[in-house]
């Protein structure tokens, strides 16, 4: 269960960011922002290889004591960043991958909407619903 989900555009501005509103959301925003550097580093590391050879799932970007940050980048350099709670040890890599896959699918659905111009903030309710299902259920 994610604590924060963010979709970052190619130019590194957020298209969508949403976090569990328990604590200071600014902290999550900051974590996402710092993780962008790691994402760029991972992308450039694979660098010379063709984009096709690069796997979309980047894996654990960096762990903090409370949270782990995972990254995923699409072929169009749109980045998904997910912050999960470190205490949730049951969260396996496969599950993170599947969550990113769902995110990616929902993102493509949003893209297909002709009323959505790429670069806008994502305001799709379906996308919101999907992200809500992934986030930790906070009573």
């Amino acid at each position: 269960m994610a604590v924060c989900v963010a979709v970052i555009a190619k130019e590194n501005y957020p298209l969508y960011i949403r976090s569990v509103p328990t604590e200071n959301e600014l902290k999550f925003h900051y974590m996402v922002h710092t993780s962008l550097d790691v994402v760029d580093e991972k992308i450039s590391a694979m660098g010379k290889a063709l984009v096709d050879q690069r796997e979309l799932y980047l894996g654990l970007l960096y762990p903090t004591e409370d949270y782990k940050v995972y990254g995923y980048v699409t072929n169009s350099k749109v980045k998904f960043v997910m912050v999960v709670d470190s205490s949730n040890t049951a969260l396996r890599d496969n599950e993170i991958r599947s969550m990113f896959r769902k995110l990616h699918n929902s993102y493509t659905d949003v893209m297909c909407n002709p009323f959505y111009t790429p670069g806008d903030r994502i305001q799709s309710r379906a996308f919101d619903g999907m992200v809500t299902s992934m986030m930790i259920q906070v009573c």
Binding site: E55, L56, Y57, G59, N75, D93, N94, R97, S98, R101, K102, H104, N105, Y107, T108, D109, M111, C112, N113, P114, F115, Y116, Q123, S124, R125, A126, G129
Partner: protein
Amino acid sequence: MEGLTLSDAEQKYYSDLFSYCDSESTKKVAAHGRVLELFRAAQLPNDVVHQIMELCGATRLGYFGRSQFYIALKLVAVAQSGFPLRVESINTVKDLPLPRFVASKNEQESRHAASYSSDSENQGSYSGVIPPPPGRGQVKKGSTSHDTGQPRTSADQQEPVSPVVSPQQSPPTSPHTWRKHSRHPSGGNSERPLAGPGPFWSPFGEAQSGSSAGDAVWSGHSPPPPQENWVSFADTPPTSTLLTMHPASVQDQTTVRTVASATTANEIRRQSSSYDDPWKITDEQRQYYVNQFKTIQPDLNGFIPGSAAKEFFTKSKLPILELSHIWELSDFDKDGALTLDEFCAAFHLVVARKNGYDLPEKLPESLMPKLIDLEDSADVGDQPGEVGYSGSPAEAPPSKSPSMPSLNQTWPELNQSSEDTAIVHPVPIRMTPSKIHMQEMELKRTGSDHTNPTSPLLVKTSDLSEENKINSSVKFASGNTVADGYSSSDSFTSDPEQIGNNVAHQRSHSGMSPDNTAPPPPPPRPQPSHSRSSSLDMNRTFSVTTGQQQAGVVAQPPAVPPRPQPSQAAGPVVHRPVDADGLITHTSTSPQQIPEQPNFADFSQFEVFAASNVNEEQDDEAEKHPEVLPVEKASDPASSLRVAKTDSKIEEKTAASAPANVSKGTTPLAPPPKPVRRRLKSEDELRPEVDEHTQKTGVLAAVLASQPSIPRSVGKDKKAIQASIRRNKETNTVLARLNSELQQQLKDVLEERISLEVQLEQLRPFSHL
């Protein structure tokens, strides 16, 4: 709770209200939300409302069950009639009018009450029983009213009703077409001519080719004010209105239409007896949508690309955000294009929104693209609540039947194909090729069926403009047949979920396969007995081959000793140590074989004994043999100390030389030692080759030192030499064979090592995950 007796009208009314409030079909209604709105719409003071709620027990339960709800409604009626609120008043007050909600609806309510009592035509179509969400105006379209003289009054009455509608009263361009229909019973609606659809239609007016027909269609439904129709679509009793339309239309039909319409009307009636589906599209609406679709995309089986659809719907002047949401709802297969069904759904939603109805979070059932499974179930008939039925197919089952079996057949095929076409990367999946194919098949099959009706119908639409009731059912049928083609295609778009799942599955395979495959089992561990760092595999191979080797080597000593038996006894001594040394060279690498050396040494000793005994040598031989043996033993450890060398021959020779020297030194025997001596000589010559073996040289020196001058007979020496040469050659061959075997083993071991390294490299990438 006291027993509650309700009249039929009340029963129907209450159940409709309950279903309206029970948006989630949970058979109980939360105390908040619509119920509260409903009660507030009853225009009762708040305390009365609270009292009612208490009385009916909702506060006790926390929610409104059906009985509580009914009781509450009854109490509302009681309160509205001015009677004091008492529990007993539920049943005691007779002839209670139906509770009224929202001033605007009062007339409708009363009308409905009247209609319920009097109108037998409605046949259970609640026709707008459910009050619209408060503040939304409309509702109850006295839809029933269309056939009576009520419409006009209702229209007038409803004029103040719709605050939402008012902004829509902008003079539309298309209203003039509506005005033409003003002679409809709804008459006075001309000014209201769908202000809603009005401005909405005006932009479409330019694009309309069949606009007149479309308007005719619309007007056909307008017995209640057209806006009411629009309203009806959005929410509450729209279906009721529409449904009542149909029965009414049935009555007006010409013979040709009656048949088809009768069936559809029956269907409708049957379904209308279930809960209303506010989002259902009427025939006229659908026809209009189809016409609009044609203006953009002449091919009814084709798609409207996203950009064209965007332009089209932008004309409706809805905010982009809402249009985006509408698109999300209506583009069922998420392919960025609209089929006819999707287009109709989107259009419907736009119209509803224009009329002030909130967009649903989820696509309503009736707007969903027609899937086969829905079509199958649609014929079931009464279906509760929001499930409703998928509009068109249900209403034209006969026309569907020929197509359905084929569709059913092809459905699984397409499923497979959809899975095949699903791609790994999350790219929108378009079922176009299969869709079009299916549509073509569908069209071919039903081609003759629906082409005929459509053309005459299209012609007739203009004629119908003059009538109140349009043969909506027929049109509907035609629309249905056309829609069927699309629905079949839509059905094959299958689930975006499913496709997504397929994609996900495939992606999961691609993405996860490296993770999922278990690392190959580690190579078998080396045997623990191996102690040397050098090739554990050597150990293994040796352990495997030791059996062979030992067998071979073991075989050799037994084989060899018999040979020299006829010859000198020293032969076996020589050979045996050679063999022993041969063994030693092997066993030197494997400690486990080291213990065998003494065995061989013993064996050789025994052989020596036997040889010596066979030769009947002098007793001093026997004495010397023990001396030889210890010397041999000394030499054996000496040889065992030697580092294993590939060139075992040299070792063997030197080893042989040592014991030979020893034997030569110790045994003053003439014949046996002679060849030994000879051999010693020859081996002495070979000794320089063995300089590398310092230990051996030490041993040799010792041996040589121990050797006194030994007389050598020439004649026998030659034979002995030849024999020894022969023996040496034999040992050479044996050793050569041994060497080749060892080489082979070495190669095998190296290959295994390479394979293990490859495995290790394969495993390495996963080590960091």
